[in-house]
Structures are given as C-alpha cells and as structure tokens.
Symmetry: C2
Subunit: 85 residues, 2 copies
Amino acid sequence: MKKYKADIIVTLKKGVRDPQGAAVDTVLKRTGIQEIAQVQTGKFFTLDVTGSDETNAKAKLDTICREVLSNPVLESYKVERFVEL
Amino acid sequence: MKKYKADIIVTLKKGVRDPQGAAVDTVLKRTGIQEIAQVQTGKFFTLDVTGSDETNAKAKLDTICREVLSNPVLESYKVERFVEL
C-alpha cells in the first residue's frame, strides 16, 4: 500500500455567480487598494490517499474530489500536487 | 502600469481547529473510501493586481492578502502563482 499527499483546488465553473469574490472586489475598490481585481474564490484541500499504486490512488482521489469535495454541477476541481509520502 | 494575475492559498495555522476538514475526514472514513485522510481545508483566490513594476504589485498583493483575504492571527497565506498579463 502506497501513500500519497494531494493538494486539490475547487473553483466555480464559468458563469456561476461568485458573491464572495464580488464582496472582496467591492472592499478592494472601496478602500482604493485595487480598482479592478476580478477576484474569483475557491476551496483548497490537502489530504492523504492510499492505493496499491499511483494509478489506483489517483482513481480514488478522483472519486473523493467528485463525490465529496466538489459539486460537479457548479464546480470543477484540479489536482495541484500529488506526491508519494 | 503593469497588470499581474495571482493565485493565493489561505490555510489555517498549525494548531488551529479545522472542523470542515474533520467533517470530510468523517465522511471518507464512514463511506469506507479512505480510512485516514488527514484533510486540511483552506481558501483559494485568483485576482488581478496592478503596479508600476513587479515589486510594487507584489507589495500591494501582500497588503491585500494580509488585510483582506486572510486573518493573520489564525491563517497564513501563500502566493501560488504570480504572472504578468
């Protein structure tokens, strides 16, 4: 059994409203820090995943991302890092 | 004026309780997907920042991260990507 550490970024799909991002935009504009920032928000996860080999662990990670960490209707995910421990 | 796009990851500092991560851990264990996942959660931001040069834009980005995107008492941030547009 091999063990891997993965970093996952979950972001909203294009066209999905991002009120948290819009709120940060407003703050940055109102305070004069940055006129147009086009902030987009997302979620970040670090987790350990085990598997008989890398292919097996990556398949399991995809299941976790699709079924637990993201809502595939509104969000997409990206495996930012995948390293053996 | 130069324009840059930055990706920021905000995570909880060591020792700060992460109930959302614990909740994901519980789900992964209960469903039998992954016994020990040690999930840690964070926030992800993509934004545009302008400046007279790279140093100036990076300094502004640090201000944004410290004062708007994170709570420095509980969270730390990392600039994951910084590219000129």
